[in-house]
Symmetry: C2
Subunit: 251 residues, 2 copies
Amino acid sequence: MKVLIVYAHPEPRSFNGAMRDVAVDTLRGGGHEVIVSDLYAMGFNPVVGRGDFTRPANADVFRLAAEQRRAQDDGTYAKDIADEHEKLRWCDTLILQFPLFWFSLPAILKGWVDRVMGVGFAYGGSMWYENGGLRGRRAMLSLTTGGPPSIYGPRGRNGDIELILWPIQNGILRLVGFDVLPPFVAWCPARLSSEERVVYLKEFKERLLEIPETPPIFFHESGDYGEDNSLMPGVDPRPRFQRAGAVAGSR
Amino acid sequence: MKVLIVYAHPEPRSFNGAMRDVAVDTLRGGGHEVIVSDLYAMGFNPVVGRGDFTRPANADVFRLAAEQRRAQDDGTYAKDIADEHEKLRWCDTLILQFPLFWFSLPAILKGWVDRVMGVGFAYGGSMWYENGGLRGRRAMLSLTTGGPPSIYGPRGRNGDIELILWPIQNGILRLVGFDVLPPFVAWCPARLSSEERVVYLKEFKERLLEIPETPPIFFHESGDYGEDNSLMPGVDPRPRFQRAGAVAGSR
């Protein structure tokens, strides 16, 4: 595999940092190539704006999609974005390693998505979902939470982790074409003993090495949707949130 | 009302910019006080890190929750965060005005949440959900989308807008104590005519002036949950995603 790990944690000595290290060592030890985008170490700028482009398509009014389309055609993306594009084109496997902040990606990682997943590069026109710009690649979320599984269950107060991850797994990863593998969720590592953390890291190693054989999560394909992009009559919507195996790292 | 508008769009001449202007004019015209945090104009830094604090509780290892607790006690939050805390304490109504980027908040606004909604200030211990640090205030999302309502319907390809907003409305706004009003969703303004946009802004004005009488969205309260933070047996989970009136700006 050619694996791009996008890692977003401010403290290298965190459990997220340990997971990143385990991922790099395990994958390289297994004969795979690995590149890490360590967003904090890179000082990655997460804010969409005129700085995303080396010259504006419209210097007067900033319209993101138009600027992205033009930058894609002309090669006028800023270097930090162009570098990430190159890594994404290179990889066959993307891992996002992050702590769940406010039920979503930390801002530095959200901004990586906002800026890097441009129109013309990652999606646009008929290039979306199974035909997205990064199709043929797989992606996996690897995250830590601050709460235990029960609060993220189907009846949990925070809401079902599957629903919480839907905007990321469907709305980002699947929309740009990735086959999305079940996420690895490390529940509440801050409250675990060192021994329990070691067990988690061992489970994570196993998941990493199983990636090539891991079936992706089910998503409906374009043929299931009508012209209004709603599921056609008779198509069962439930498999979109099927839990079987979807949170494989969970306890 | 004392209204804080947190506004996140890179282009003042966007429809989001027009919505912000309409909100300020309408609310002030109605005798209300308004403060705007224009995150792009402020150059707001959205990245959680050591810079959030004027001196570290632990200079060696960065642990966000511990740093936030200590900063709350000692008044050692960085000025940009302390300023937002003051605005939040002042307001009785919060409006987040933003374009839906990748099914979520733009990074600059996500980072406002990540950095400002600190442990001890907004939540922590028993201070969460209806007992959150910002209880007694109301909040409302006001957003634009790039797609039409059908793709965000219960059977839509992007997923039900209610599910997409759940991590924000429940996981951020409700968790820190706000009464959450139905969102105002401006569907796909980029594809509208000038006349249609004017109609949207008129509808938005009406919604703004109705805020004091608008009933909040239903959320279960603490008594509905057991010790594991799951809904107790017999409690109906469905009202959490009841659609009635939940997306009042929709067409």
